[in-house]
Symmetry: C2
Subunit: 238 residues, 2 copies
């Protein structure tokens, strides 16, 4: 597996080698395609190689809540390794390429190499940290702050895997999808985005976001990147 496991880096050369030797099946998916569904029992984990995916839950009236966006390097369903039944779904948002690794191989590797197990465990813990930050935003921040926070988070995460160009990045999401993630209506998302643009804080041109005033956006979203546990801390951006 000759893929950068982005965040799993504090590993010995041997451990990295062992990961690289895991058998992977690569598959391409079209946009808006479910990869695993709530309730499924899955035997594989997947890695996002290219594209953009999301984890989501559907409530009884059919509306959905997006729980997380996944970018290349992410392993969105790593938790399935120890939680057999999915408690949410995973879907592509744009055409995406994913790598699949069988649980059996991963469990085997974890038993043989505690270092790999610890690194993967850590990966799922960072996941949890992001959920906590999300809950805090949903419970206590205004819609405007939540949206600003999301835009800040995506910049740092995309930058960490080389997919940002300074303060500019491709964000292939509709406003409806942003709303589903932030718990807001499309209409309101639209109005907030317009405000932020009118204030000269961001610019959006054909699904490419450009953050014109990083400190301003960060202040609006009360964004503190600590919860992302990025290896290079503040990153080159600060």
């Amino acid at each position: 597996m000759h893929i950068r496991l982005s965040k799993i880096i504090d590993l010995s050369a041997d451990d990295q080698q062992a990961i690289a030797e895991l058998p992977v099946t690569i598959r391409d998916f079209s946009a808006d395609h479910d990869i695993v569904r709530d309730g499924d029992r899955t035997q594989h984990c997947c890695i996002v190689l290219e594209g953009f995916t999301c984890r989501y839950k559907v409530i009884s009236d059919g509306r959905r809540q997006i729980l997380a966006f996944n970018i290349p390097g992410d392993i969105p369903d790593l938790q399935s390794l120890h939680l057999q039944v999915m408690d949410h779904s995973l879907a592509t948002l744009v055409p995406s390429r994913l790598g699949f690794v069988a649980h059996t191989h991963m469990r085997d590797l974890c038993e043989r190499r505690p270092g790999v197990a610890a690194a993967m465990w850590r990966e799922t813990l960072i996941d949890g940290a992001a959920f906590r930050a999300w809950i805090t935003g949903m419970g206590r921040l205004s819609a405007r702050a939540r949206l600003a926070h999301l835009l800040c988070e995506l910049l740092l995460r995309l930058d960490a895997v080389g997919l940002a160009d300074g303060f500019r990045y491709r964000l292939p999401l509709t406003q409806a999808e942003i709303g589903d993630a932030l718990g807001l209506s499309v209409v309101h998302v639209n109005r907030i985005l317009q405000d932020l643009r009118a204030e000269g804080i961001i610019a959006i041109d054909r699904r490419t976001v450009n953050i014109l005033h990083w400190d301003g956006l960060r202040a609006i979203g009360q964004f503190d990147p600590a919860y992302l546990h990025l290896k290079n801390g503040a990153t080159a951006i600060d």
Copy 2:
């Protein structure tokens, strides 16, 4: 350590024995006492033995968001084993007794016994599943539904560790604390509780909740216990 590690159960006798031999320091805390704070680097994990604790984050204006309530048997900061810096705080809500185990001992045990490592990993994954359910509620459910959901969740969790009496349990939370968890104002929490009582769905007498109409409450909160990953599934209550 002669304590029931409630949910960590799918372990061999040897593994259980090894856990039981971990050196634990027991300490008692008064109510509303911070155990670890956002930003701390901690060298121990703690187990709630008696009482009630919560994990929370404070935002810039001083308001807080409670992320989770912890009951006896929970290990609220297990994630600190691999995430050195706390991204939230942990505090008692009532006088509580906690057990502390050094990270060094736990890491050592995880290296020696992959089964224990996997069980603990799983524990943190269940934590993550609860956060996902929480986010869904915060984003897409009404205040009334969220409150109903919380009351349902607490019944099942307390029942799983023998702290519920049928549909009745002690809930030592103020309405302000419930509000901090659900992202609601005290006033609104109060009004919803009154509605639920007036409708004969719950009764509350001196911090003891009695769920009079379980199916009704469950329907209001769209409560599906799958995300709790309780060993006995539906539990005796259903």
